[in-house]
Amino acid sequence: MEKNGNGQKHTIGVVVENRPGVLSRVVGLFSGRGFNIECLTVAVTNEPGQSRITLVTKGDQQVLEQIVKQLNKLINVIKVIDFREVEFVNREMALIKVKADQQTRAEILRIVDIFRAKVVDVSPNFYTIEVTGDDGKIAAILELLGQIGVTEVARTGKVAMARAKKH
């Protein structure tokens, strides 16, 4: 059985105890069992002593099921949020360095405006742009800026949160 080749991307939230080595347990689980990590973010939460990992992985339903179970099995994992089961919002931030000269500056600024992005650094030949959004939005702005000349990209990876119940 090929574990990662096929299947869709899935987002999983993992609430962990904030202790040394916990991230390595989570990451080690993925590498040791041949699971795939597309991206991963981790930071503290509002609960003291707890951190939250958001990761995106790829696999069929059986693999996904195993990933969720294996994560739950880790002693330092407090909760696993399987976003297959709930509606959720997700965001990612990207810093994009793009070539900017006399001819392209205006066009870049128009794109920045359309995407509600920000120029956070300016130099004679480059703009650095900050953009926040879901996968689709980041991909779209990268596509457009790519035609002008992107030299560097740094992305945070996705964070996700289930939508609150309506009542």
Partner: protein, 572 residues
């Protein structure tokens, strides 16, 4: 009064009821050894740390209690890794204490420093580096709790030297608080009901039990359920002893239990593999559908509705997708199924099951486990049969790994749980002798036999002196075929007899070797010498190495070639 970390270590062990530990000293744990004479916890000094880990494992498997070992930092710690991985694969409760360099030196590549927490992470249930003496007691309490609860497993605790020397008031926590650890033990009644209904509809059920039944002490419940279901039972290697292979016959003699199918899988019996392949319902209890059991997944129990009871949710639908998963402790789930069938018994069972048992009986009589006896050469299977006969089936058996292990599984009949200690998951050669020593420590008056090969026994032979100097009269039966027999068998069958690197004709004289260690050495080269040698070994109250010079190219059969359906067996 303030205690040092080393003193706290002993106080915690006493609170956990630890009576014995297996260990080897070194610089990082000298403080513990310095404190040791003040406490009456027995310490067995091993000759190699791998031995300590396997002894703690053997002790744990034989008793069901947590096995404990204590080693120093660096090489002391890394030497235990194979033993830890062995215990992890077979869900054995163990706590491994490793010394560590002082906290100030961690990360500096100090002398005998190794990141054992990092190294052992994938092969422990959990592990800890104790950063200060304040958390020492809590960590030890958690370690024992984790090791023995839920699906048991090894837990490693790394103890920096300065933590062992620091002082603090000793308080042992009353309870363990682990937010992320709540094993599901109580089986869901809705699932039990679904299982009941599926079983009620089945005509050709098979119970497939694994080591989980032994771990949760559910063997009586398994036998009772098999009775209520009138179902035949097969077990994995790890499950041998969970169901009585023999029962008392009308004349008072032990005879084969008609419900017993024998072990299944790659070297399973013909009837077990055929029964699973033809079953319309498979009740898996505390087993994990290992590849050595299932063969080709698509061909495993192809017609069966599958019910799977396991305490570990990750075991369910990992390899084989199951129809009715039941997460819970085996004993709890089996008790509920029993209650359900007692309340609402299955009807006309004798009539419904008669053709199924007739079919199984036909498979058994037409293709029994068999080997060809020869007049001048000892057959290894014959040695195992004799060990069974002369021990009245009452011994604790350990094995090494390979042909010796499979012949033991096939030809020794296990009737009680915790009487076969063998490395099933990891397949660790060198396990048997130290595991036998660990079991003998727990049960000094019982007969403990390690069935070994001439290859495996040399992997931890140094522990023979541990047995001798602690007066632990383990018996080792070496089936000497002058080969790494299982690999040779694969080379014979699948690699055109290219016996590369499997011939061990350069071997020590095992009788002299035994004598050099202060043990007794015995040798049999002809079939008629087998029984006298075994009798003599059993009679002497010392460790004994018995060497049986056996047929060199004997194979283990039946055999399911890798990647085939388990119904496609090679028979002799």
């Amino acid at each position: 009064m303030k205690l040092t970390g080393a003193q706290i270590f002993f106080e915690c062990l006493k609170k956990e009821g630890v009576e014995v530990m297996f260990g080897f000293p070194g610089g990082a744990v000298i403080d513990i050894y310095n404190e040791m004479p003040n406490h009456d916890i027995r310490h067995i000094l091993v000759r190699h740390e791998q031995g300590a880990a396997h002894m703690a494992d053997g002790y744990a498997r034989a008793t069901g209690r947590v096995g404990v070992c204590l080693v120093t930092s660096g090489p002391g710690a890394t030497n235990t890794v194979t033993g830890i991985a062995t215990a992890y694969m077979d869900s054995v409760p163990m706590v491994i204490f490793t010394g560590q360099v002082p906290t100030a030196l961690i990360g500096n590549d100090a002398f005998q420093e190794v990141d054992i927490v990092g190294i052992s992470r994938p092969c422990t249930k959990h592990n800890y580096l104790v950063k200060n003496v304040e958390e020492l007691a809590t960590v030890i309490k958690e370690a024992f709790y984790l090791a023995r609860s839920g699906r048991p497993g090894p837990v490693l605790v790394d103890l920096p030297k300065d933590v062992l020397q620091a002082q603090i008031e000793f308080r042992y926590p009353k309870r363990v608080e682990l937010k992320g650890y709540r094993p599901t033990l109580d089986a869901h009644l809705g699932q039990i009901k679904r299982a009941h209904d599926a079983i009620a509809k089945s005509k050709q059920p098979v119970i497939y039990a694994g080591g989980g039944v032994i771990i949760s002490s559910a063997n009586k419940e398994l036998t009772r359920l098999a009775e209520l279901m009138q179902a035949p039972v097969t077990t994995t290697l790890m499950g041998l002893g969970a169901f009585p292979a023999t029962i008392e016959g009308p004349t008072g003699n032990r005879e084969l239990n008609p419900k017993w199918l024998g072990m299944l899988g790659m070297h399973g019996t013909f009837r077990a593999n055929m029964a699973v392949s033809h079953a319309d319902l498979l009740l898996a209890v505390g087993a994990r559908f290992d590849d050595r059991v299932t063969g080709k997944i698509a061909g495993f129990a192809p017609n069966a509705k599958i019910i799977h009871i396991d305490v570990d949710p990750t075991s369910i639908s990992k390899n084989v997708v199951v129809d009715i998963p039941i997460v819970g402790d085996c004993k709890n789930a089996l008790e509920k199924l029993i209650e359900s069938f007692e309340k609402d018994p299955l009807k006309d069972l004798e009539t419904v099951r008669a053709p199924w048992f007739k079919q199984i009986e036909d498979w058994r009589t037409n293709f029994p486990l068999a080997y060809k006896q020869e007049p001048d050469i000892i057959k290894p299977q014959f040695v195992v049969e004799k060990l069974y006969e002369l021990s009245n089936g009452n011994a604790i058996i350990t094995t090494e790994v390979g042909q010796n292990q499979m012949w033991t599984a096939q030809y020794y009949h296990f009737n009680e749980p915790r009487t076969l200690l063998t490395s099933g998951g990891l397949g660790t050669m060198g396990y048997g002798l130290p595991a036998a020593i660990g079991a003998q420590v727990a049960f000094p008056d019982r007969l403990v036999i390690d069935v070994a090969g001439d290859g495996s026994i040399q992997m931890n032979i140094q522990e023979l002196i541990t047995a001798v100097c602690n007066c632990l009269p383990v018996k080792v039966a070496i089936l000497n075929n002058k080969y790494l027999g299982m690999v040779r068998q694969w080379q014979e069958l699948f690699y055109q007899k290219n016996y590369c690197a499997t011939c061990l004709d350069a071997a020590p004289d095992f009788v002299k070797l035994a004598e050099a260690y202060g043990a007794v050495g015995l040798r049999a080269t002809k079939p008629e010498e087998v029984e006298p040698v075994i009798r003599e070994a059993f009679a002497v109250n010392k460790p004994v190495l018995m060497e049986f010079v056996v047929a060199q190219e004997e194979g283990v059969y039946p055999m399911v070639p890798a990647g085939k359906n388990i119904s496609e067996m090679l028979l002799v």
